[in-house]
Symmetry: C2
Subunit: 234 residues, 2 copies
Amino acid sequence: MKYKLYYWAEIQGRGEFIRLALEDAGAKYVDVLRTSARYSMPKGVFALPYLVAGKRVISQTTNILLYRGTRLGLAPKDEPGSLWVHQLQLTIADWLVEAHDVHHPIGSGLYYEEQVPESRRRAADFLAVRLPRYLDYFEGVLKGQSGGYLLGRTATYADLSLFQMVAGLRYAFPVAFGRLEGRFPLISRLYDRVIARPRVAAYLTSSRRIPFNRQDVFRHYPELDSAAKKSKKT
Amino acid sequence: MKYKLYYWAEIQGRGEFIRLALEDAGAKYVDVLRTSARYSMPKGVFALPYLVAGKRVISQTTNILLYRGTRLGLAPKDEPGSLWVHQLQLTIADWLVEAHDVHHPIGSGLYYEEQVPESRRRAADFLAVRLPRYLDYFEGVLKGQSGGYLLGRTATYADLSLFQMVAGLRYAFPVAFGRLEGRFPLISRLYDRVIARPRVAAYLTSSRRIPFNRQDVFRHYPELDSAAKKSKKT
């Protein structure tokens, strides 16, 4: 099966969770919008990304991973295992929205420059409250396992997504996340484990990997990276 | 099977999507925290709600509905149908987060009173841009169907959740949503259809239904309801 992925050509975004899964699985796919700007939103799709698999069109990132995860060898076959990975992925999806809303607390259709003071406040809350909460949670899940991945010895699409979160956070918040990360050694180790996977490593150094940039979900703005300290008294 | 639902006793929140499904299906369940304040977060659960079904503990609202939807008679049995309802539910879940963030654009741990100006701006964007976009989408899905529900003649948990969105929006934004709703007759008709379902009707008039209130996801603040008009020029 050759998949067609439809997602923005300029950003990693939510679509990156799917790209990483397809790449790690060695699946055949076309990242359609990287070579052609034309598409029409299929019926029933609310927003990008969507995946075309034969005659089927699936959207919502977590749903795509649920649908293909087992087939790609990145999720258990049994129902409890499959739901458990999906549950982890849903939590990562919530986390990604919050990481995005740090620089878009007022509206996703507005520019960052139109919401800078609000972003500073939201960044302070994200870095002080929400980010440690998510990190605590995933560190705790990893603590219950041996083998270094969320489910133990075998990587799932949730591990690839957690890797992506760490990569994004390191880029967006080098200072604030740098200060935090040492408290979550199992997450850092998972990052190292994922980046050493041959197909992931090949992907990340290829032109298929879109570099981090300021149109993306993870954005580096020094004023937000340092918001934690400055806004403590707000 | 008698389910145990763990969710905040004071609010409808995300848990209401599950309560509505359990009620409509006539399932036996205990809404545990309504009678007992004590619980400890089970391993692997990031946040409420979670559902206990026999020995299994499932969390993330959409995951719970995916897991139980078919068994409750509220989702198709086939994989494409089940994923399609799940996809609709994931979009409703995103929508609910945005409805919440209208009054909490800076941080969910802060009071509304600490983020009023930001909330006004976010409300303006939500009412002008995001809300119509979601309504357009679901009106479009309904347009493709005969029978009045999202999948046609048979209600799914996504229909119950869409009903809940309309109920919440009517409460939170009587003016702004009141102005919009006429453009989405199929959604209004779905609301009427769901509220006429005998078990839903019985539930809504029972003490098991928690009234809307200002601790909840949907909140009525007149200044946000009128934000659309006032902030157009911001």
